[in-house]
Symmetry: C2
Subunit: 210 residues, 2 copies
């Protein structure tokens, strides 16, 4: 158990009070432990450092366009999480038309998948907190890309010129208006939407090995 | 074979001329079919539409923070690619500290993995085109995230405040200066770096199902 989990658990056991009591009595909506979600909010309010994360991904080139990625540890509140004894492995590759062997999705597709996943988590967690039950939730995310710049042929930008996301949701106890409000709230608070829709400072260093 | 592959193949068979002849005689460096890479550049120069792609990702919510993603078809030069008869599947989830069950990496981690993969492909393809052999190439990418905004507690932004990438490369025939120049070129032409480091317009629609 990481220090942060311990902190959340302590606060849960101590019984958070105030306006969150009503939500804290409901557990398990949409598969979300709402008590722990409320406790997490409380823990961050008590100690802003609990909100600090550094995530990390590694890759190792195999051949051609194929790379193997690993995702395991991350930093939380200044300590390295040990929640994942085994890393997640991911293979990245290009389709044949982009000179790959189709061993995995390509890098820009992962950005679209990330947005779909982020919207999914944000919608479900916030629905749970608001008492909205979700029966079905799907996303489709598209991105338009012009390869000129990647190929060294000029072009205005190397990445997506536009990203379009569509969600489909079914709820037994929420109105269309409530679900549309939630969709807007999720957009406003989505980490991946922010990363894509706004500029993030990116620094890149290279170490040349002997 | 997609129309685009056919186009590239035709051009290869026709024998591209000009300054690319020298590169076109070398095939297979770093596992990259350099002839086809050169042909791809030629195909895009002949018809800018060949550079147009729309990529797509789908997700389906399962429970809590867990979503299942699929990546399969994409649009290329106005047609739907059939290069992938079977979709790639990806599970997204959160670690326990973020109320998930650790069934997969989370959404922001996928953004970091995407950058690592994009740098890997860009470095290898461009090294191949320049006659640089690569023996080893690894990346580690980190991103700092403050959870306040996701939790509805204010905060300046929901996503990464900074992303740091480090690469390690080993080449038997390139100088440190050549490799550093290549690293800079890859940054300047990397689709995922552009997507992260610059703003992309993101539109989001919701369809409420009965």
């Amino acid at each position: 158990m990481t220090p942060a989990v311990a902190a959340f658990t302590t606060i849960t056991q101590a019984g958070e009070s105030g306006g969150r009591d009503q939500m804290a009595t409901v557990t398990g909506r949409n598969g979300v432990d709402v008590d722990r979600l409320v406790a997490t909010v409380g823990a961050v309010q008590s100690d802003p450092n609990v909100a600090q994360f550094t995530f990390r991904a590694r890759s190792s080139w195999e051949t051609g366009g194929r790379n193997r990625g690993t995702l395991q540890e991350f930093e939380h509140a200044g300590a390295t999480s040990t929640e994942r004894p085994v890393p997640f492995e991911l293979v990245g590759d290009e389709p044949p038309v982009l000179l790959g062997t189709n061993a995995g999705p390509n890098a820009v597709e992962l950005c679209l998948q990330a947005l779909a996943f982020c919207y999914g988590v944000g919608f479900i967690y916030n629905a749970a907190a608001k008492g909205i039950e979700i029966e079905e939730l799907r996303y489709e995310v598209e991105g338009d890309l012009d390869l000129h710049r990647f190929l060294g042929l000029g072009g205005s930008r190397a990445g997506f010129s536009a990203i379009r996301a569509t969600g489909w949701v079914r709820s037994p106890n929420a109105t269309q208006e409530q679900l549309e409000e939630l969709c807007q709230y999720v957009q406003d608070t989505s980490p991946v939407r922010d990363i894509l829709a706004n500029a993030v400072p990116v620094s890149t260093d290279l170490v040349v090995l002997d």
